[in-house]
Amino acid sequence: MISWLAKLRISTALDAGKPLPESLRRAIATDPELAYFARRAEEMGQALRTPPPVAPAMHDSIMRAVRASARREQPRRAPVAAWWWVTTGAVAAVAVVFIWTTRARQASLRGQSLDGARMVLELSEHLPSDMPSFVMSPLSNEWALVDRNLQDTKQVLLASLP
């Protein structure tokens, strides 16, 4: 076990590129097995630093594959950008309509907040069917989440009524 640990220390010292500690040198001097391992490890290190030469000549085929990948990547990125703009535009449009509707009726609905909330909730229910499908279809998941939030809010409001 002690010999195993000493060999591990020799190996670690080789990896660190540091000289062996004095205690280890003394151990090597007295133990032939350790001395053999230290000598072999050192020699192996020298020999292994010359890796077998290899010349596969494959630069052109690699670059062809990379260029093909680059060509595939470009059209893949374009729809992502388009999708982002459509989604963002649609969300912004819905937000503007929502705010405008709410503010326009704010004065007349003052004191009738429940009616206002009802109107907004109704609006939210009709929006998915009234809005053009090309606007709504990319947003169906998001809209389902918004709708669920509104429904939850409605439940809370109705439950809080005296």
Binding site: L8, S11, M44, L48, A55, H59
Partner: protein, 194 residues
């Protein structure tokens, strides 16, 4: 343009590649194609598979170049991709089997250099036959690629302590094998075949 890239570091070239410069990436391919091929070939032992894995490695590196952090060494990032790409190939390797590497013979090599090269090849062949993948790859990255322990740990996805133990086991096993078959390779203190 390509000449201009030759003086840049790997990490600078990677930054150019991130900006979409294919010529910069090509310089990286030029620098590493043989080294990646050698690493994969030595690990899996089949020329066709090694070529395929090498090509896949660079394609993957190109696709993922945006994720590369130029503050870290490019070499360990690239070798980590190669190792992942080659895992199936490495696992299918039958110990002791493998084609001889396609070699580049330099007729102008002095005799001593040739002898040393043969000796190294013999030792690498032994290592490939005797060692499991992790130990062999640690040894290759340490000596053939001259990586330090931290870099090897990054490539293999292991801790530095684990890598030290892998290297120790590899040395231990190779030294023991050397002891049992000394007639095929006897080294002097200079590391030259006798």
């Amino acid at each position: 343009m390509a000449h201009e890239f030759q003086s840049l570091s790997d990490e600078s070239l990677a930054r150019h590649s991130q900006a979409g410069d294919l010529a910069a990436f090509e310089e990286l391919v030029r620098r590493y194609e043989n080294r990646i091929y050698a690493f994969v070939f030595q690990s899996c032992g089949r020329d066709a598979d090694a070529r395929e894995v090498t090509q896949d490695t660079f394609v993957r590196a190109f696709e993922a170049i945006a994720q590369f952090d130029p503050r870290r060494p490019f070499v360990s990032w690239l070798f980590a991709i190669a190792r992942r790409k080659g895992i199936d190939c490495f696992r299918s390797r039958i110990p002791g089997e493998g084609e001889p590497a396609p070699e580049e013979i330099d007729a102008d090599d002095p005799a001593e250099l040739l002898a040393r090269r043969e000796e190294a090849q013999d030792l690498w062949r032994r290592a490939r036959r005797l060692l499991p993948d992790g130990q062999f790859q640690s040894l290759w990255l340490r000596y053939a690629e001259d990586m330090d322990i931290a870099q090897i740990a990054r490539v293999l996805g292991k801790t530095q302590t684990h890598v030290k133990v892998l290297l120790f086991r590899a040395r231990h096993k190779l030294a023991a094998d050397w002891q049992t078959a000394p007639s095929t390779m006897v080294l002097t203190a200079k590391g030259v075949n006798l």
